[in-house]
């Protein structure tokens, strides 16, 4: 048995365990040297049936007791990882041994007949044969199913694209599996994180340019110099409003006889100077400057 077990190579992992197969050792009697390759998770009945079919015997008539030796030998070659299922193999083996031992004894009456022993029970061979036949039927049916599937490949139906129609009909999805509370907690924690306040946008401060302000600049410039050129005063000013208001302020000052403006040619430099006392007197003004506030509403230009 040890020789046979080593010859099987069942434990070296190189054996194909996909399909059951039985091979007989060369030059030895089949009963003594049987190489069995079982599919994954094949059961004890599958093993016994494989042994029978390998010998081209009919399961309906084969003397099962004669297979006890071959079965035990195959059993000894099972890998260690099948030890959890070994009891089912041992159960069938014990049944085979019982059948074999009974076959060796002289036949006595059938159960129920006169002369039968009270503990005889049903014929174990018939019982096992029945199980084998039943097992074989489903094993073969499974193979036939596989054959049909391989030929037909399958039936195909419309994929769930008509969800809209179903929704109109009032269909609703099956209830989702219960939500793990931990998911809710995690989601809440993500939501509850205190977010740093965003950077405030740059504040826009409205700039107010008044006539008085620009007039004060003109007056200050004229205090420092006898004449100024408007273009020089506005050098560097990019804001049109600043330019326009300064120009308006200049006109206001002209109107109030504070300054006199000259422009020699169109688009030429605008030169301003303070009015002299004589000029102001000629205009009927006293020597004091008009200190009334400038009219910011520009009403006087209308």
């Amino acid at each position: 048995m040890t020789d046979a077990a080593s010859a099987l190579g069942m434990t070296n992992g190189a054996t194909d365990l996909r399909s059951p197969a039985v091979r007989f050792g060369a030059g030895r009697r089949p009963e003594d040297s049987t190489e069995v390759v079982l599919s994954d998770w094949a059961g004890p009945l599958g093993l016994l049936l494989t042994l029978i079919e390998a010998r081209r015997m009919d399961v309906m008539t084969v003397p099962l007791g004669a297979l006890a030796g071959a079965y035990l030998e195959s059993l000894a070659t099972l890998e260690g990882d099948r030890i959890t299922n070994i009891s089912s193999f041992v159960a069938v083996a014990s049944q085979l041994i019982l059948i074999k031992s009974r076959a060796m004894l002289p036949r006595h009456a059938e159960p129920g007949e006169p002369g039968a022993l009270p503990d005889d029970g049903p014929d174990p061979e018939a019982e096992l044969r029945e199980r084998l036949i039943l097992y074989r039927a489903y094993r073969d049916a499974g193979s036939a199913m596989q054959g049909v599937a391989a030929f037909r490949i399958g039936l195909f139906r419309r994929e769930p694209t008509a969800a809209l129609a179903a929704a109109i009909a009032g269909a609703r999805l099956p209830d989702a599996p219960p939500l793990d509370p931990a998911v809710l907690v995690a989601a809440l924690q993500r939501l509850a994180v205190i977010v740093a306040p965003p950077e405030p946008p740059p504040e826009t401060i409205r700039r107010t340019i008044t006539l008085a302000e620009r007039a004060a600049i003109i007056r200050a410039a004229l205090r420092a110099a006898p004449t100024i050129v408007l273009q020089e005063l506005l050098r560097g000013a990019r804001d049109r409003v600043v330019i326009a208001v300064t120009f308006l302020a200049m006109l206001e000052l002209v109107k109030r006889r504070e300054i006199v403006v000259e422009q020699g040619m169109p688009f030429g430099p605008i030169t301003a100077r303070r009015t002299t006392a004589a000029e102001r007197a000629a205009a009927g003004l006293t020597g004091n400057m008009d200190d009334t506030p400038l009219d910011e509403s520009l009403e006087s230009f209308r």
């Binding site: 036949i133 049916a141 199913m145 490949i153 039936l155 009909a169």
Partner: protein
């Protein structure tokens, strides 16, 4: 001892008060179902409904939607089944539910289009699946009794692939789970109904006289699906 084992095993088979549950979702028409105007059910309108439905419909759902009784639904389903017999689309029946699917002969061509391949299972899985398909509803212990080996892993694998579904629980002690096949099984194996299964070996017909209450439940299902 063997008889005792048999009695024990048979006790695990489903009894008359077995609870079979319907795992598939049903249309919820709410309380307004009775308020719907009955539309009647013609063969063509039934065909259109099944064409649009994105899942198998139960006869009850069809009856509720159309406002007709079960007999009318069964009759129209029968008409439609006959009409579609030689067409590329056929009725697929599983228990109380029906759907439209491609005909078995068209499978290879359609499979090329959708890029599908035939289902491939290990011999062990095929054994267990065959037992479930032919004997459903069936318990795990009944499967293991026939296979003679622990089948827990195999059944879990089949459940995972939806080739086997849980149908409910037996009323036997321990209330074991009853397994059966669903639409996925029929579709993957190219069967229009369980009647389309390859016939079991004729030699064992006489050995299948011990179906017990399992077959009784199956008979009830068979009447229900006999359109």
């Amino acid at each position: 001892m063997i008889e005792d084992e048999r009695r024990l095993a048979d006790a695990e088979l489903p009894g008359d008060d077995t609870e079979l549950q319907d795992a598939e979702p049903e249309l919820d028409l709410g309380d307004d179902a009775s308020a719907l105007l009955p539309l009647g059910l013609t063969e063509s309108s039934l065909e259109a409904l099944l064409f649009v439905a994105e899942r198998p419909l139960s006869r009850r759902e069809i009856g509720l939607l159309a406002g007709v009784d079960r007999e009318t639904v069964d009759a129209r389903l029968g008409d439609l089944e006959v009409t579609l017999r030689d067409r590329g689309i056929q009725l697929l029946l599983s228990g109380d539910r029906v759907e439209l699917a491609t005909a078995p002969d068209a499978g290879a061509l359609v499979a090329r289009y959708v890029g599908a391949d035939a289902v491939r299972l290990s011999p062990t899985a095929l054994e267990a699946l065959a037992i479930v398909a032919y004997r459903q509803p069936v318990t795990k212990s009944a499967i293991e009794r026939i296979r003679g080996v622990d089948s827990d892993y195999t059944i879990r694998s089949l459940l995972h692939r939806r080739l086997v579904v849980e149908l409910g629980r037996s009323s036997a002690p321990g209330r074991p789970i009853l397994y059966g096949t669903g639409f996925d099984f029929l579709e993957r194996f190219g069967l229009t109904s369980l009647d389309d299964l390859p016939p079991l070996d004729a030699d064992i017909a006489g050995h299948l006289v011990d179906p017990g209450p399992t077959e009784a439940v199956m008979d009830g299902e068979g009447e229900a699906s006999g359109a």
